[in-house]
Structures are given as C-alpha cells and as structure tokens.
C-alpha cells in the first residue's frame, strides 16, 4: 500500500497505516507491548496505563509517557516500550492491582512449575492461588506480572473484596473479586454486541462492573453470547461448564449450529474432550463473535447418550451390531432400488460439501434416483427467487459489510436468535445511526433497535412490499438509466404495482406514513441491504416476497455494490453448500438443472459415466409426502433434524413411519432413529474434516478437533463410500477430502478454483504468541487468519468474490419478476379467531419480577397481552384485565393491554428471552441448541380469566 508508514518499536521496524494507534500497529505486527484494557476490535479506553511508552516523533520526544493504545502512529516515529522508567511505571500500577487481587501465586517464582496438587511452600490459601483459578492458563494479568518480573514482596497491604460470587445465571459465573475493572466486558457488550447488558457501577475505588440493581443477567438483557468472557483478561468471567479444566490442545474449526459459519477455536483437555469454544478474532464472518449456541452449545459432543455402535432392529428392538452387519443389511435393502424407484435420500443440513458431493453422486450414478435433498431445505424459496432474478442462489454480499450499509431492511427474520452473529454488524450499524427498518408482525429483538418497525397483518407481507415498491416509483426514487441498461423489461411488474390502490395499502395494516418512510429510508440510501427470512410468511407467497425484495433492490440499484445487496437467512449450517453441490432436487453438481441435456453431458464427461435418464426429482417435503402415500418405500436419512418434529415439514415423523425400510444416521437416538430399521452412529462436526460454505458463499475448512474414542461413529461420507463398494458403484471414495474438493472443483464452476492447498496458502500468518507476549484469550490461539474463499471462483487464479454482480449479471440483465401483490388470509378457525404473534422483549415497563436464586433461575413475571383496542372491545375485554391466550397447544395467562400499534386480529405477547435460556438450562435434551423454539405465529383466542 502506498500509504503505509514505518514506525520502530524497540528497534523493530513496523509498517502500518496512518491513523492506526501504536499499540494496534504493534499487535498487528506481532510485537508485544503490555496492555490490559485495550482489546482488538474495540475502541481504545486508555485506563490501565500498562501500554505506556516513550515516543519520539519528528518534533522530538512526546511529553510524558503516552499510552500506546491512544497514540496515533506517524511516519518515522520511534517507540521505546521497555525503558526502566516505563517498566517502573507499569510495576507501580501492577503493585496496586496485586494488592486488590488474590495474589499468592502471582509473585511466586515457582508459579511456572507449581501444580494444583502441589503443597504450597508459601502457605497461600487455596482461594488465593492461581493454580486453582479457572482462568489460570489464559490469564493475561498473571502473564503481565511475569513479564514485568514483579518482586516477591509487595509494600502494599492486600485485601480481599469479599464480593459474593454470581453463580445463578445460565452458562457462566462472575467472580468480581478477581475483576481489575479494565472495562473490556462492558465495552464488548455495548460497543461490539450492542446489548449493554452489563455496565460500570459506582466510581473511584468502588468502580466495578455489574447490572442494574444487581439483577440477574437473564433480566438485564444478556443474550449469553459470551463475548464478555472471551475478552476478560482474568478469571472474573468464566464459562461454568468445565470451569476448572485446562486446555491441552486447541483446534480451529467452524461452528455448525447455523449457516453464519463462525470460526471457533476449540479447547481440548488431556482426556481429549472439548471443554470450551473461543471464537476466532481474525475470522472474516464472525470477527471474534459467537452466540450462545456456538459458545456454549458443546455439551452434546461429549454426551454420554451418544450413539456408539450401529443398531439393527431385530424383533422390533434396536440391537447393537457391527458395521459390517449393518452396512451389509442396508446394501441388501438398497439393491432392489438401484433402478431408481421408491427410494430417496435425505442428508443433513450440516454435512460437509464433500459429503454432499458423495451423497448426490451415490444417488445419481449408483441408485439412479433424483430423490435427493437435505433436511434443512425447508424453505427453498429463500434463494429460488434470488436466483431467478439475479442469477445466483446465494447472498449477494458479505456479512461484515452490513456494518457499512447506509440502510438495513430486515424482513421476517428473527435473526438474532437464528443467525445471531449476522445481528452483530446490524446492531452496530444501528447504534452508529444507520437507519434500520424491520418488517415483522412479531416483536423480535431487532425491533428494539429499529428506526421503523412495520407490523403488517399476517399474510399481507407481499402486499406491503408491493406498496413500498410502488411508493419508491411514485416518489421518483428509481435509478432509471441503470435500470434501462441492466434490467429486463418490467412492464408487467409496473402494471401489477398500478393495481395497488389506497384501499389495498390500507389493508396491509401499516400506515401510509410508515410505508412512505420505509420506502424513502431504503431508496435514498447509497447502499442499502436487505436481510430476509420467510418466517411465518404463508407458503403461497414466499417466492413472490423474495422476488419483491429483489425488485426493490433492482429499482434502487442496491445490488452489485459493497454495503448493499440481499442476504437470505438460510436454515442450516451448510445448506448453501448443498445447493451449490447439487444435493437438492432437480439439480446436478454446480447447481445446473438436471433436466438440461447439455448440463447432464457436462457432468457425465467429468464422471466418465452416463447418467440414467432423468425422472421425477423430489425434495424433502415431497419425499415425506411420498413416503406417507407409499410411493417411496425405502429411505436413507442422515442427521438429527429438528425439522421432522417441529412442524416445518408437516408431520415428518409419521411419514417416515410408513416406510418399509428406514436407515438413519444420527449422533443420538433421535425421534427418526427410534423408528428406524437400521441406525448408524454419526460423528459430530468436531470429529471430521472437510469444508462448509456459509451463507455469504464463503468456503471454509472444518477440522477434526476430537479423536473418536470408545466409539464406532463414522461420517456419512464414509458410509456412502462403503455402501458404494458393496453395491458395486465406482468412483466414490471418502479417503481424501482434499481430493474430493478437487473433483468438486472440476465439476462445479463456482468452486473451480478452490482447493485445500489454496485455502491453506491464502491464510496469512498473523502473529505468534508466547510467554513473553500475553494475548487476550481470543488472540491466544490466533496464528493464522483463515479467510476462506467466496464463490464464484471459477479458476485457480480467480479472486474471492465478496460482492456479486459488481460487473453485471451473469445472464446479461436481471429479470425482475411480476408478482401479483395479494393478501393471503390465514385459515381462520372459529375456535381461534385471532393470530398470536409472540415477541421478544428485553425491557418491560410496570412489571413485577421475582427472581429466585438456587440451582436454577426461575423468573415469574407478568405477561402482557397486547390487543388492538377495537378487538379488545369486540371480545369484551378491558384494559388491565387478566386474560388467557389459548392456542391449539398452549395456554398462557397475562394482562390485557389495548395498544393501537397492534393490527386488528393480532394478539402480541411479550416473551422474555430469559425463558429461552431457562429452557436451555433445564432441558433434558442432549442438544437443546438445535431445538430452540422460533417465534411462530399461531392461531389463538383470548378469553377473560377468573371473571365471576
């Protein structure tokens, strides 16, 4: 870069950019200057004064001892960070810190050789010993003390603060006796996460961190993301699970709980168990962030309930078997279907790309079937519309660009729950003043951050989008010249928009003003992004909603530029990869159509086989219907999908029950496994190798963190290879994932330039850590930045593609659709005349809260049932009256509140986020993270309670 400047730190020359602070430059270059309050990714705070240095610039010595974290680097600057004066200053501060921190071991010269069970020669009590502190090996404070070579004796008196431990919240403990008040946790929570669930308290020598009135984290608005723990330099904040365990090794991999693709460093203890997850700071998608699922959702990896052996149903009972027995049996039952009839494969949403590839190859060439899908494909319309309009079935831009958007529109997605880390840049942008428009009937967390919350009547979502689009046109906010060049004819669309009259707009339940404001906010922004889900949108209009969103982006030229674009919130960890590789119906690897002769010929050439003639190709939903009707008799189902039981796939379980032969491959004896004929034990993501493609099209490596011990579990890729062998199918081997990726690249144009070699080569060395350079725990394991590759990447020389369509559309012009903007009525049942739109509320006025401490948190609070005043009158309910909200499955009581902002026919309820955490903590489920309830709209009625 021409703008680079050079500074020297203790004689080491460093290149950096102007405006960077000296400390930041030093960290980037791997040069250690002590620091305790600064943390990469946050603004400097300038409190600990550990980073003081001597600095000389062109005007001579900078007066005093400037703090490197707030000293802007200038060209030619010379820094001395280890002069006797500077270290004396640091030691003086450290002496005082030690005097208010358990310190027995801190200044002991034996600290490096002493173990927890050694007899302490200095008679230090257990509570004061670092060797018994959960953060011991990750403690930056201790490392800094060692770096400074502190004296054994301190001239200051030590006193223990005697603050009771906070141990009653889910997931993590707080011991403020160890807190050094560096403020990292508060700043991480506020600046990075936008939550402010913890805060500074008091001042002077009493300054500390805590929550309002000392309330529990459940009540304070905490989302249990763990960001505060990850940045805490000492043992004040620690994960509760495996609290005392120390890491023996660490492995970088990807969290597979959702498609954000957060890079994680998994800590593994001497027994080979994963004990903690620390999100990677230098990762492009998550940049050091995670969510409660990725951070704390690891217990299933080591659960005692894991399946260890293959099971075969004999006499109605699942009995242990060997792999040979199980595979032989499966092969035998599959053989009759090799002609292609009556068989289907459903893989998991968290299979690797390589496994998807094998699965589809196995299906296409081995089984002659196109009934092939993954269980995360419950909302194919999410990307179908996108592909039809623009050309590619994936997000157009990168997650981290959201922070730089000039306006963000979020449509029907509870993403802070389902794709949590996508919410991080959105909340940051909103905090920095970027307009945020949320369209959702439900109250979701983001509505709290939104400048504008449009709350359509359920079923009116498409019409609302049409009304916004029409307003954009009416107000002349369209980029007509660009449209003429880049967008196909759209007269039909204009005609459809003409039909939206005042009355139609009014029927959306959203006021004219709000529609106009939303249109202006989105259309007048330079780079506006759309982040969308299809939660609760009636199936009849899901595709049209996506098309309408695409049209909105086209009309306002919000595609093809950084900060703009559209982001579909896909449903499973690697559903993007499944789409790309062709593990979906009607497609072949590379995403090309199955029914296109040319495309088939292309694939046949690479595979060196001829594909069976194409026939009907069913997706997961169709397959389940076919199973129910008897058209499909045998199925192979991989993965522990909650979608079989949560209603998204109808009564999936009942359908599976109709099969003649069901093979499942699972980590646990999940509901489908319980009814299977053969159950194959499946490894977890932490035990296998391969690649995942996240929702921003980024192909990233996962790596085995655990060795599979006392356990026969295998990866499904291996199973496909084994079955292929038994069924005489050539060209299917799972031995070498790297070779598989090469094969994928040869047949999948989007992945043409991707190889394991290149993924490794393009990760860059960031820094080296050692005893002499203590790092924040998040940086502790960071030696490489792994950027992955964003497709399209057709050749080995193609660059990664952070933004799609910046050079135009693959088909020349974008093809806007022309949906019929209409309202879908929810089927109303006389018993349930209204629709319940549950919401997530962090702060509620006038509430009574009662927190019981004990083993668990129990929160009793008054629920608010918000109704439109007209409905309240119509149902004969009065404001403030106790009522019950009754749905087919639920009966919730609360207090009725008339509220104009609630559309007629809708009942809104506040649902405390904490209940979720409560549920997670109390759940019997081995992997409750996967089954976190969404906020589904349900038909309901409201009736008075206890009226005489």
């Amino acid at each position: 870069m021409p703008d680079d400047i050079t500074i020297s730190i203790d004689g080491v020359e460093i290149r950096t950019q102007p405006g960077k602070m000296v400390l930041e430059a030093a960290i980037d270059a791997g040069v250690y200057v002590p620091y305790l309050c600064y943390h990469s990714g946050m603004k400097p705070y300038a409190a600990c004064r550990m980073c003081v240095v001597v600095a000389e610039n062109e005007r001579g010595r900078v007066p005093g001892f400037p703090a490197a974290c707030t000293l802007a680097a200038t060209d030619g600057m010379t820094i001395w960070s280890e002069t006797p004066d500077v270290n004396e200053l640091r030691r003086s501060v450290m002496q005082m810190l030690i005097a208010e921190h358990p310190n027995g071991c801190l200044t002991c010269h034996r600290v490096e050789i002493c173990g927890p069970s050694d007899v302490c020669l200095r008679h230090v009590s257990v509570n004061d010993r670092c060797v018994t502190c959960p953060k011991n090996e990750r403690c930056e404070f201790k490392d800094t003390v060692r770096y400074l070579g502190m004296e054994l004796e301190s001239p200051m008196t030590y006193s223990y603060r005697e603050i009771p431990l906070e141990v009653s919240d889910p997931f993590y403990d707080r011991d403020y006796n160890l807190c050094i008040t560096c403020g990292r946790c508060v700043r991480a929570c506020e600046e990075v996460r936008g939550d402010s669930a913890i805060c500074f308290t008091e001042r002077s020598g009493k300054a500390l961190v805590g929550t309002s009135f000392g309330t529990s984290l459940l009540e304070s608005g905490c989302e249990f993301c763990g960001a505060c723990i990850d940045v805490c330099p000492v043992g004040a904040l620690t994960e509760r699970e495996n609290k005392w365990e120390k890491a023996a090794t660490v492995q970088r991999t990807i969290c597979t709980h959702c498609p954000v693709g957060c890079q994680m460093n998994l800590e593994i203890n001497e027994q080979g168990r994963v004990i903690r997850a620390i999100p990677e700071l230098n990762s492009p998608a998550n940049q050091g962030q995670a969510c409660y699922k990725g951070k704390f959702g690891l217990s299933h990896l080591t659960s005692g309930q894991r399946l260890r052996r293959p099971l075969i149903r004999r006499n109605g009972i699942l009995e242990p078997a060997t792999w040979d027995e199980a595979l032989d049996l499966v092969a035998e039952r599959l053989r009759p279907h090799q002609s292609g009839a009556g068989f289907g494969i459903i893989t998991a949403a968290d299979s690797t790309n390589e496994e998807f590839y094998l699965a589809q190859k196995f299906a296409h060439i081995g089984m002659g079937t196109h009934n092939l899908d993954h269980s995360g494909n419950v909302q194919p319309d999410l990307t179908r519309g996108l592909e039809d309009v623009f050309g590619y079935p994936g997000a157009t831009n990168s997650i981290r660009e959201l922070k730089k958007s000039d306006c963000i529109l979020v449509f029907n997605s509870n993403l802070t729950e389902s794709h949590n880390v996508v919410g991080v840049p959105i909340k940051q942008a909103a905090r920095d003043g970027t307009p945020l428009v949320v369209i959702d009937t439900r109250e979701v967390e983001l509505t709290r951050y939104a400048n504008l919350w449009l709350r359509p009547i359920p079923g009116a979502e498409l019409l609302l989008l049409g009304a916004i689009l029409k307003t954009v046109l009416d107000e002349g906010l369209v980029d007509a010249d660009w449209m003429a060049e880049n967008v196909e004819d759209h007269d039909t669309l204009l005609y459809e928009l003409e039909l939206i009259d005042e009355a139609a707009m009014a029927s959306t339940g959203v006021s004219r003003d709000d529609i106009v404001q939303a249109a202006r906010l989105y259309a007048t922004a330079n780079n506006a992004a759309v982040v969308y889900g299809l939660d609760n949108v009636p199936a009849a209009i899901t595709r049209d909603c996506v098309v309408a969103l695409c049209n909105l982006a086209l009309f306002t030229r919000n595609v093809g530029q950084p900060g703009g674009g559209l982001f579909p919130m896909r449903q499973g960890a690697n559903t993007q990869g499944a789409t790309d590789i062709g593990c979906i119906p009607n497609r072949l690897p590379g995403g090309g159509p199955l029914f296109d002769d040319e495309n088939r010929a292309r694939v046949e050439e690479v595979w060196g086989v001829s594909l069976p003639p194409p026939q009907q190709s069913m997706g997961v939903a169709d397959m389940l219907s076919a199973a129910a009707s008897g058209d499909i008799r045998t199925m192979l189902v991989v993965g522990d999908s909650p979608n079989f039981t949560n209603g998204l796939l109808g009564d999936g379980l009942a359908a599976l029950e109709q099969l003649d032969f069901l093979v499942t491959m699972d980590t646990f004896l999940t509901p489908p496994a319980q009814i299977a004929d053969v159950v194959l034990p499946r490894v977890t993501f932490a035990e296998k190798d391969g690649t995942f493609t996240n929702l921003e099209r980024r192909i990233q490596r996962i790596r085995p963190a655990l060795s599979v011990k006392n356990n026969d579990a295998m990866a499904e890729g291996w199973v496909f290879a084994q079955l292929a062998q038994r069924l005489g199918i050539d060209g299917i081997s799972y031995e070498d994932p790297a070779a598989l990726m090469d094969e994928i690249a040869s047949v999948t144009q989007l992945y043409g330039g991707v190889s394991y070699d290149r993924l490794a080569r393009e990760s860059s060395l960031v820094m080296q850590t050692g005893v002499e350079s203590p790092r924040p725990t998040q940086l502790l394991y960071t030696s490489r930045e792994e950027r992955g590759i964003q497709w399209p990447c057709p050749t080995a020389n193609s660059p990664t593609s952070p933004v799609l369509y910046s050079d135009g559309f693959p088909n020349g012009k974008a093809e806007p659709g022309a949906p019929r903007f209409r309202v879908i009525d929810w089927e109303s049942e006389p018993r349930y005349p209204a629709l319940l739109a549950p919401g997530r509320v962090l702060l509620q006025q006038e509430r009574d809260t009662d927190i019981e401490y004990g083993d668990l948190n129990k929160i009793i609070r008054e629920e608010e049932v918000q109704l439109n005043p007209d409905d309240a009158a119509g149902w004969n309910l009065s404001d403030g009256e106790p009522v019950a909200v009754v749905t087919a499955t639920n009966h919730i009581t609360g207090i009725a509140r008339a509220n104009e902002s609630v559309p007629r026919g809708v009942v809104a309820m506040t649902t405390l986020f904490g209940e979720l955490a409560f549920e997670l903590q109390t759940s019997e489920d081995v992997n409750p993270m996967a089954r976190v309830p969404g906020l589904q709209i349900e038909p309901c009625r409201v009736e008075p309670l206890g009226r005489a």
């Binding site: 001042r203 608005g221 006025q845």
Partner: protein, 159 residues
C-alpha cells in the same frame, strides 16, 4: 409502586425544561421530583432515552447524589471539604452522628432523617457548613449542630 409516584416519575422524565435531554438530566429530574431513583425510574429513563437499564444504572451509581431507596423526612448534610475541615468539620460530623444515633452516614432506623457527608457545600467562607433540607447554615458549632438537628427531629415528630 403507587400510581401517584409512577406518574411523578413520568412527568419528571417527560417535561424537562431544557432542550438537551439525557440519561443524567432525566435522573436528576426524577431525583428532584421524588428524592430517589427507584427501579421504575431506571426503567422509565431507559425507555425514554432508548438506553438499557444498565446504561442508566451506570450513570446513576456514578454520582453519589442519587439514592435508591425512598428518602427520609429530613436530609442533613455536613461538609467535610478542606475549608470546613480546617474550621472543625470533624466535630460537627461527630455531633451530628451523635444526635442522630448513627455511626456513619445513612438513614436513621426510624426513617426520620438522613445524614450525608458532602465534599463541599459551596459556602466555604461560612465554614464549617451544614445543610438541613437544602438550607445552608454556616459557622456551625457542635452545639448549634445538635440544636438544629433537634429542631428538625422535633418538627418531624410533630408531623
């Protein structure tokens, strides 16, 4: 919380005279209106300022003028700033503690009075200074301090 106090809180928060309304200005308004910051006030301010309860708490606990339990009937402040210290503030504080049967600052158990130490009441030329219900009294002696406190407690008793 009774409805009257609740409405005092929302009035205080919603009708501030100045145009720059902040978390701090709202807390000060509540303090003026009801003499303390209950949980409901923290929530009201958070809601109004689009902040979280913790953002508000951070501010409220920083400034020692805020209290979080209802005020007593009378507030007795004694200055211990250097001007007053030089003029014998120690003895005034001792006298005040004694008259109120308190061993430190705080509320009397009967809820009649609060003793607070103040770093400077701003009337240093009249040192030593105390303030009873915000009325300053200068050149206090231990005796006059006792008398004034006794007067106040008497008037409290006659309520």
């Amino acid at each position: 919380m009774d409805a009257a106090t609740q409405s005092l809180i929302s009035d205080a928060v919603n009708s501030q005279p100045q145009s720059t309304v902040t978390v701090l200005s709202s807390l000060l308004a509540v303090e003026d209106a009801i003499g303390y910051i209950p949980k409901e006030a923290v929530e009201a301010v958070a809601l109004q300022m689009d902040a979280t309860i913790n953002d508000v708490w951070a501010v409220a606990t920083f400034y020692p003028n805020f209290r979080f339990v209802p005020p007593t009937e009378h507030r007795i402040e004694v200055c211990w700033g250097p001007s007053c210290h030089v003029m014998g503030a120690d003895r005034i504080i001792a006298a005040a503690q004694d008259s109120l049967s308190l061993s430190d600052e705080g509320d009397t158990p009967d809820g009649k009075a609060t003793l607070r130490y103040n770093t400077c009441l701003g009337a240093c030329a009249h040192a030593p200074v105390m303030a009873i219900d915000h009325h300053l009294a200068g050149r206090i002696t231990p005796e006059s301090a006792r008398e004034k406190i006794a007067d106040v407690l008497r008037s409290a008793a006659s309520h």
